[in-house]
Amino acid sequence: MLDYLGRRVLGGVLTIVIVITAVFFATRLTGPAVEFMLPPGSDPTVQAALAAHYGLDQSIWVQFGRYLQGLFTGDFGISLGERRPVIDIYAERLPNTITLFVYALGLATFAGLPLGIVAALDRKGPIGSAIMTIAFIGYATPNFVLAIMMILVFSFQLHWLPSSGSTTPLHFLMPAIVLALPMLAEIVRFTRNAMLDVMGQDYLRTARAKGLPEHMVIGKHALRNAAVPVVTIIGLQVAGMVARCVLVEAIFATKGVGDLIVYATIGRDYPVLQFGVILIAVLVVTVSLIVDLLYAVIDPRVKVAAS
């Protein structure tokens, strides 16, 4: 088990090291930052003076060395646009994105699992078909279309919900739904299929035969075995959610990390962009590790195979 975990952690660390290196060089390829620190078309001599002040005129290897040194000492640099520590900026933005993620993840999981189970149990019935139809529509609708449609209906026409910002929980409702929907649809589909798969197995017949009540049969024997693919899909979807939140935050003017990264990219704010990418890499790697761990918890065979 420890060996299994060790290999996974090592793989994760290696991934992050590669990301840290790649992001540094990739950001430098996007164009000179000083051009974006001054209004468009500013005098090149002023641009040069600014570049010298921020050490952007030094060779790329010197800059890379400084960047690595900073990472090791926990200094993630100063934003070129805002001239304040990158950490301070993320500290302001991260709570909004986390709130959004928690809402979306909660919504997708707590609604998706029961709906998937019901869809499996009522496979040929009207309820099951209805759930699957809605899930497919949810899966097939691009999230920006859904976002703008929701804004038009609930804000523009009905005036029920605020369209933009992140000041109250209500502000998070529409973005969370938009963010959650593709994930919800995925969870419903995978839960249903996994349940159907498991429900045909012999051990369920055995469980029923030994007189277990139906909720035990479904809840314990079927669901636990169906959980592996479902956990996998939740893990994958968290990574997808990071990508989607960029768009969702832009449309709903949620002042979160996605919005920040978009603006840092447009403004060539290297330090902010770098930290954002590293943060996302760490998040995705951590979620993958947790999923790997959960496999072992859910499915004892993983533990056996690993040792």
Binding site: G41, S42, A49, S79, H159, A253
Partner: protein, 515 residues
């Protein structure tokens, strides 16, 4: 869900009561990452300063012409062509409670004149190149000394870049409290303090700015208790936030969205032609465009009136020369610098032996309203005279020497040709030596225009400069855009003609809220 709806309704109702308490929210397309009037000349920055800072000399902004009035200075006198003595208002408090004195005035100007940061160097070039020194004569008297005679003392002391900032507060922000370090200015730009009718109580760079009434303001009390500027970049979201009552004013409404606002009984549109040109610039130092006949032809091929009709519904202003009504006596619409003549364009191209090489034209996809659409239309206009445009959509200016042509904006930073044409094209301006190298006669013309204290001499010199520009063609002003704002019906506000572009003036007399 019913609870949520009730909550939402509650929120909307709360929003309405908030308005009754003289509060306001503005949704802007962009938001600055710093707030320092002396470091900034960007369009987005112009939104931030007028409510929280004061100039030495004030101006009547309700009209385009220059009618000056006392600001932080109560009296001023030009004691010689190169000196001006200013008497300060006594008892003016900064938002941190300290009194404004001559020390602060000297510091405010010298941080720019002495180029204490690279950005101040840029501001000096465009505004205060002629300023040699600023000295305190006593606690409330200051003397300005210039290198050449200065006809624009009042205009420059009214400019945003000349707003007064607190010396002791800034120097005390980081490190040694007795010296002004770069870090002090960077800290100030995140926690700005001025003398204006509103103080800035919250600033999240790139996100929002909150202003509250400053009780100790020396002048007329601010009409709003509190207002907030929030960035909502998406036009559709900004418009919805306005229709939904979440915000009271929205900025940067493109012409094709005006009908949506006008058709909503709760909303209205206010707008004005701004003292700013969208321009096309040519790199006269690029081998493809070295021959001035090519540059002349490219400009003659552009039907600017058609662009105005098609993109601005005829609301923009197509100039005959580089001039604005805001220049007062220097407003010279009679000059005929830029014209449309496709036949002449074809002749010039033939004379210059243009061989059909495509000419690159750079444009950002979104930065200028209608910028990309105008570029696409210009591509067709160039094609009509036989020039192929290689339209390059990018948000970078790229390698400076590789630039061929592109769109740009040329705002009025202060109300004089030197404050608009001059900021870009005066000797030493942002593009000189980079995309255009004028001759020595031009430098002489410029000095005569810039430093003469006689209005007629200045006008004659500017006419000569424009004649030279028509021949050299480093730049073509396309039009002055019509900038529109969307407002709730309850808000009485409109952009004032005396301001530089994009200023959101919420001072006494400039805004009122109905019940």
């Amino acid at each position: 869900m019913t609870n949520r709806i009730l909550l939402a309704l509650g929120a909307v109702l709360l929003g309405t009561t908030a308005l009754a308490a003289a509060e306001l929210t503005v949704a802007t397309q962009n938001m600055s990452s710093f707030v320092d009037p002396g470091r900034d000349h960007s369009n987005v920055g112009s939104q931030n300063y007028v409510n929280a800072f004061d100039p030495l000399i004030e101006k009547d902004y309700s009209q385009a012409g220059a009618v000056f009035s006392p600001g932080l200075a109560t009296e001023w006198e030009q004691t010689s062509p190169t000196t001006m003595e200013v008497t300060l208002r006594e008892g003016v408090l900064f938002h941190d409670g300290t009194e404004m004195t001559a020390e602060d005035v000297v510091f405010s100007f010298h941080r720019i004149i002495d180029e204490l940061t690279p950005e101040y160097k840029s501001i000096k070039t465009q505004f205060f190149t002629n300023f040699e020194k600023v000295e305190a004569l006593d606690t409330y008297r200051v003397r300005f000394t210039t290198i050449n005679p200065e006809p624009l003392f009042e205009t420059l002391l009214n400019a945003q870049q000349g707003y007064i900032v607190p010396k002791a507060y800034i120097m005390g922000l980081t490190g040694d409290a007795e010296t002004a370090e770069i870090a002090d200015f960077e800290a100030f730009a995140l926690a700005p303090v001025g003398t204006g009718p509103y103080r800035i109580t919250r600033f999240q760079p790139g996100e929002n700015l909150v202003y509250e009434r400053f009780a100790d303001y020396y002048g007329d009390e601010a009409p709003l208790e509190r207002f907030e500027m929030r960035r909502i970049s998406e036009m559709a979201t900004r418009l919805t936030a306005l229709a939904n009552g979440e915000v009271d004013i929205i900025t940067n409404v493109p012409p094709d969205q005006l009908a949506t606002i006008e058709n909503n009984p709760n909303l209205k549109v206010e707008g004005a032609v701004t003292p700013l040109f969208h321009v096309v610039i040519y790199n006269a130092m690029h081998p493809k465009l070295e021959d001035k006949r090519i540059r002349q032809a490219l400009s003659l091929a552009i039907d600017r009136d058609l662009l105005n009709q098609a993109l601005w519904l005829g609301e923009a202003v197509v100039p005959s020369t580089h001039t604005y009504p805001q220049y007062g006596e220097l407003y010279m619409p009679e000059l005929e610098t830029f014209t449309y003549n496709p036949e002449r364009a074809r002749e010039l191209l033939a004379e210059a032996g243009y061989d059909g090489t495509p000419i690159r034209f750079d444009t950002d996809a979104v930065y200028y309203t209608n910028g990309l659409l105008a570029a696409q239309a210009i591509k067709e206009m160039w094609a009509a005279v036989g020039v192929e445009m290689d339209l390059n959509v990018t948000n970078s200016w790229g390698e400076p020497s590789a630039l061929e042509s592109r769109n740009w904006s040329n705002p009025m930073y202060f109300a004089d040709p030197a404050g608009s044409y001059g900021t870009m094209w005066a000797p030493g301006g942002a593009r000189i030596g980079n995309t255009w190298q004028p001759n020595e006669a031009y430098v002489e013309m410029w000095e005569r225009f810039r430093y003469s204290t006689d209005v007629e001499t200045r006008k004659a010199a500017y006419a000569e400069i424009m004649e030279y520009v028509a021949d050299e063609m480093p730049v073509l002003p396309l039009y002055q855009p019509y900038e529109s704002y969307g407002l709730r019906q309850s808000v009485e506000w409109k952009p004032l003609p005396g301001h530089i572009p994009y200023v959101l003036d919420f001072r006494a007399g400039s805004i009122a809220l109905a019940d």
